[in-house]
Subunit: 352 residues, 2 copies
């Protein structure tokens, strides 16, 4: 029996998907996802769905302006490489043009790639030795994923596209069961402009405040007022409905105020009932994160909070990438969960 608050959450989600149309890319994405998942389920390979980058909230239907969430995609793109290295197949649901696994090493670099290339005698192009040395492991790892078909990349831009694709991807993951991980690193818009209330055309800075929408143009020299509605809490729907029940769901919590980080992480675990939140602060996220887990789950008096800080040796000036520490820790917890599931099923555990 679902409580009335759960029913209203469900209605809220259903209404959202009805009112905000699916992206044109959805049918193709579904096909790609189903093919990808069935290939890896047949090989008993673990699969992780990684979300990465910020979602946008368009202010006009013919979009000239939009609200965006700060996220280069570093966490997601970097983590993808380490999950692949750990033998997982990766579905990389990312903000279009944000950082991609492998490509991130040269697309968003101040070190201009073309500056390291030169023309050969026979009209070809070679990459200079020193640069090639650093690129080689990346090229090899990329080629391996291509050979094994272990990387599927799906782009989104708006929050609406993201939610439709996330739902589709999560449902496609059902056959993966306990072999599945959801690693939700994307920065998702908390607020949006409903499709039906969006301005058709570019809001004019000189317009009088006469448009019957929540996004009103402003008389020249006056303020622009935006009134945005809260996005449905998709994490609830992912965990309760879309995703396979035994999968490990890892959500991220980014805060700017250190004083509230742990409280917000625990709040999320209480609210959504999943196992693990990775908390981080805007300013230190490249070298420290905290794993927050509720060991017991269930009632508040039974809570056994575990908070494990992972930090790069050397802190801010540390060498290497913190994802090299994060992913093995996530994998360890995933294996723990898989053992629990197998134990309760009376099965042995398949180790890949």
């Amino acid at each position: 029996e679902r409580s009335s608050s759960t029913m209203s959450l469900t209605n809220e989600a259903d209404a959202y998907f009805a009112e905000n149309p699916a992206p044109p890319s959805l049918a193709t994405a579904k096909k790609q996802l189903d093919d990808f998942i069935s290939t890896h389920v047949a090989q008993n390979r673990r699969v992780v769905l990684i979300t990465s980058g910020g979602t946008t909230v368009p202010l006009e239907r013919n979009t000239v302006r939009f609200l965006d969430n700060f996220s280069a995609g570093t966490r997601g793109a970097c983590s993808a490489e380490y999950f692949l290295k750990a033998g997982y197949a990766v579905v990389f649901l990312h903000r279009q043009w944000s950082l991609l696994p492998f490509a991130r090493h040269y697309t968003h670099s101040r070190n201009f790639f073309l500056g390291h290339m030169s023309e050969t005698a026979d009209g070809g192009i070679e990459i200079e030795d020193d640069y090639a040395k650093t690129l080689l492991p990346i090229l090899r790892a990329y080629k391996k994923t291509q050979k094994e078909g272990t990387l599927l990349m799906i782009p989104f831009t708006t929050v609406s596209e993201y939610l439709h694709l996330l739902r589709e991807a999560a449902m496609s993951m059902r056959p993966v069961g306990a072999n599945g991980v959801f690693y939700l690193a994307a920065a998702v818009s908390d607020f949006f402009v409903p499709s039906s209330e969006m301005s058709e055309h570019k809001i004019q800075s000189g317009d009088a405040d006469s448009m019957a929408t929540p996004v009103t143009g402003a008389p020249r020299g006056k303020t622009l007022n935006l009134h945005l509605s809260p996005t449905p809490k998709f994490l609830h729907h992912l965990i309760s409905t879309w995703a396979p029940t035994p999968a490990l769901v890892v959500s991220f919590k980014l805060e700017t105020d250190p004083g509230i980080l742990l409280a917000k992480a625990k709040q999320a675990l209480r609210r959504y009932g999943h196992r693990l939140v990775i908390g981080n602060l805007l300013k230190t996220r490249s070298w420290e994160v905290v794993f927050v887990e509720n060991g017991q789950g269930g009632k508040e008096e039974d809570e056994r909070w575990k908070e494990d800080w992972i930090r790069l040796e050397g802190g801010e000036k540390g060498k290497g990438e913190i994802e090299a520490l994060i992913i093995p820790e996530v994998v360890r917890r995933h294996e723990g969960m898989m053992k629990e599931v197998a134990g309760s099923n009376g099965n042995g555990v398949n180790d890949d």
Copy 2:
């Protein structure tokens, strides 16, 4: 004698720069600009300042969310290549991580660059022949700019950084005089949140409406309200004060509604007193633009509007880039202006 409305515009700009601090990068940018400009003035080379990409309006000081303007940087990055080809030195003031000249051919491509590379027998990396053939002209053009020092790239992110850097760049262009062009393709925020009124930390979707700022958090489930102030009209200051008087200033006007494009272009020319607006529509901008010029200038009854549409042959499905048509036309008009200036100075014209 300045009118009171001009005085208030000036005060508005001064106030803006006083209240919105310069980016840390400003001093370095000034040095780079001065060196770059003096080199090319000494060679009597024409210089174009191209602005490209969208500016952001942060909603928090520790920025988690921001308002952005849709602009991949295609127009600016592509135009830069054609200006370089035409012999201009280019200052490329661009949104960080948006498209760059030359690099644009592989950074934002669905055609994964790594997929066209392979390891050589001696542990190096080569680029496969077919792909190398297409990249070769780009590599050559890039190497030429490096050799001649004709490309200076300066990044910005926020509208505040952009305006500080634009002012610095425009003032640094003064020695260029009539040899200078301003090609303002960036999508600049019309509205912003004043620094003093910005939220310090990430706005919480669960916050009560109690913050004394124009950006108020919302109680869980309620709306988020944003109240933004109009940005000062920087184009006025660029033309009247910052830039060298005889330079050609080209501004862009992007609209989504075809019915108002020409009116808006003319309005801009009347308002700012420059020579040329390039108008385009969101949906057709990759294959058609309109050059709008006021042949006479001055009083409304003397206006002689010229509207010249430039279209790619084949329209939307046309081959090639429309910038290959736009830039020669801009250069032609620049040369016309240079002749006018030289004529009124009693000098001959230096053709480069």
